[in-house]
């Protein structure tokens, strides 16, 4: 009961702010007579989204499957790489500079290659999603795994713990918050990368909807698609925040 009230209290400011923004948008565009092809009214966008909810839902589903697929593959790869680098420091010395350089390249720059390699189907989107995630997870987790001080490691060593034992009992749990940060950043990146890749070439998905609607001067569909996409990635983000509480329960 009390927690429900608390939740309400913390949700109130954001609800108020959102409502204020939407009203400003709605009445601002009306008052200034802004045409829909420049900035549609929120009510129209919502009506368009709801009116073709099945269509948008289907396209969003494709995009989310690609984003989540890429996210999962990228995360697992990133985690494995980080663990390998912690266990084999030589690997870190060799691969880290390369990882930093690749991470510095915006993942959209790889879209052309990925489309050529994996075709227009879902696999190219999953690949670009994974690419957008892997280095964020790697870099974050690696710094997290290194967080425990030498003293804690020494304590475990004095108990006779092996390298793997130290990793499992100390470094992995200690690296959890950093991993979660990496996952959060990665999820947002993979969704956007997937949508961009869909725009550049795809059979379906929200990005392709946006691209086609733009070509056909259908700005309401563009905005509705963006709105739906944002709702989708917010939902994913929500799942991750809940996961965060599970993975980092002790804070």
């Amino acid at each position: 009961m009390a927690s429900g009230l608390n939740a309400l209290r913390s949700a109130l400011p954001v609800a108020a702010a959102l409502l204020a923004l939407l009203l400003l948008w709605q009445f601002g565009t009306t008052a200034l007579d802004v045409p829909a092809y420049i900035l549609p009214k929120p009510a129209e966008i919502l009506a368009t989204a709801l009116g073709r909810i099945g269509f948008f839902g289907g396209e969003l589903y494709v995009t989310l499957v690609e984003a989540v697929g890429g996210f999962l593959i990228g995360s697992v790869l990133g985690i494995l790489l980080a663990v390998a680098m912690i266990l084999l420091p030589v690997l870190e010395v060799m691969l880290m500079p390369l990882a930093m350089v690749i991470n510095a390249v915006p993942s959209i720059a790889f879209v052309p290659l990925v489309l050529l390699w994996f075709g227009l189907g879902m696999s190219s989107k999953i690949a670009i999603g994974a690419l957008a995630v892997v280095f964020v997870v790697l870099l974050n987790l690696l710094s997290g795994l290194k967080r425990p001080e030498a003293e804690s490691i020494n304590l475990l060593r004095s108990f006779g713990a092996s390298r793997l034992g130290i990793l499992w009992r100390l470094q992995l749990p200690a690296g959890m918050p950093a991993l979660v940060t990496g996952l959060r950043v990665g999820l947002a990146r993979s969704t956007i990368a997937v949508i961009v890749a869909e725009m550049m070439g795809a059979y379906s998905g929200i990005g392709q909807v946006i691209y086609q609607a733009t070509a056909q001067v259908d700005s309401l569909t563009v905005w509705a698609a963006v709105f739906v996409a944002s709702l989708g990635s917010l939902a994913l983000y929500g799942v991750l925040v809940a996961l965060d509480r599970k993975l980092v329960w002790w804070r």
């Binding site: 691209y211 070509a215 056909q216 001067v217």
Partner: protein, 335 residues
């Protein structure tokens, strides 16, 4: 609208103008033209008109703004962000008018359908009728309706053809993942040739009686109402630029090459040749460059409505204003 004119946009445009200010252009009117794609020989006329001073002579200080994916020329021209545009084509203008965008086409660059369908010579596909039961790839951002029209004109039921979405890359066709693929005559066809693929057959929509004029030159209704003389001046100079480009191709390619980073000269030369073929075809020769073919436009609209791409027909004479083109001096448009 007013908000953008007088508020944010105006201020920012002032900054923009200050940043991109060219030499003091005397009385020349600053206007801009938005292209549908990145700088390439497809827009040689515009670049030539600017480089050779045709615009300046006409009293215009033209800024050429390239396009890109997710840049919609019609929206930019309708909103006043750009004065003129080389927009998508017949379909795009029709969609825009249906969506109540206050813009009109004043000329049509390409006189015949620039799309064509390619199949390998050994595939046994000898006519559009043979598309039946085959995997045919086309771009799903508009050109699919041209394919539908072609199939309809040839009496091939759409349901009998396996139509799939085509990537921007020709690689799947090269790898024979499709039986038939769509090309533009000025770009993808050349890409295929450059990769040494010449065992192909071409099927042109115009041979099936389907013509859709592309690369519409558009401007806003406001411009037409308030500054018709500028609209006329722009059109005259642009067509003159095209004529000059076709008569001095080497120079035209030089000018295009200087306008975009990292262009391949060979590819641009081929492109200019094909663009010439498209622009001087049909009315392009009999009437002159940029002619508007209201009959073909009417047919395209009928088909778009039939295929569900448009819901309500628009007034074609209102959407395509032929009056400016009619007033272009013959020496500027006749080849």
């Amino acid at each position: 609208m007013t908000f953008f004119k007088h508020g944010l946009a105006a201020g920012l445009f002032a900054v923009a103008a200050a940043l991109s200010a060219t030499a003091p252009a005397g009385a020349a009117e600053p206007v801009s033209v938005r292209l549908k794609w990145l700088p390439q020989a497809q827009f040689a006329g515009v670049y030539v008109a600017k480089a050779k001073g045709f615009y300046k002579d006409a009293g215009l200080d033209v800024t050429v703004n390239p396009g890109g994916p997710n840049i919609n020329v019609e929206t930019l021209v309708a909103s006043g962000a750009d004065t003129f545009g080389v927009a998508s084509g017949t379909e795009g203008v029709l969609y825009s008018r249906e969506k109540k965008l206050p813009l009109k086409a004043i000329a049509m660059s390409q006189q015949m359908t620039p799309f064509a369908y390619v199949a390998y010579t050994e595939s046994g596909i000898n006519s559009v009728k043979d598309f039946k039961g085959k995997k045919v790839a086309t771009w799903m951002v508009g050109p699919q309706y041209t394919l539908y029209s072609v199939l309809a004109a040839e009496g091939v039921p759409q349901a009998d053809v396996n139509i799939v979405s085509q990537p921007f890359s020709m690689q799947p066709f090269i790898d024979k993942q499709f039986d038939v693929a769509t090309v533009t005559l000025y770009n993808e066809l050349n890409t295929l040739k450059e990769q040494g693929i010449d065992n192909i057959k071409l099927f042109m929509p115009d041979d099936s009686g389907v013509t859709t004029q592309q690369d519409a030159i558009v401007t806003s209704e406001k411009m037409i109402a308030e500054k018709p003389e500028q609209v006329q001046a722009f059109l005259n100079a642009t067509l003159k630029g095209w004529k000059y480009a076709f008569e001095h191709k080497d120079e035209a390619v030089d000018i295009v090459m200087a306008s975009g980073p990292g262009l391949e000269r060979k590819h641009q030369e081929l492109m200019l040749n094909e663009i010439e073929r498209l622009m001087v075809a049909k009315l392009g020769t009999s009437e002159g460059l940029g002619a508007i073919d209201l009959v073909s436009i009417g047919k395209v609209q009928d088909d778009l409505i039939k295929f569900g791409a448009m819901k309500t027909p628009v007034d074609i004479k209102g959407a395509f204003d032929t009056s400016f083109w009619a007033k272009v001096p013959a020496e500027d448009k006749k080849m």
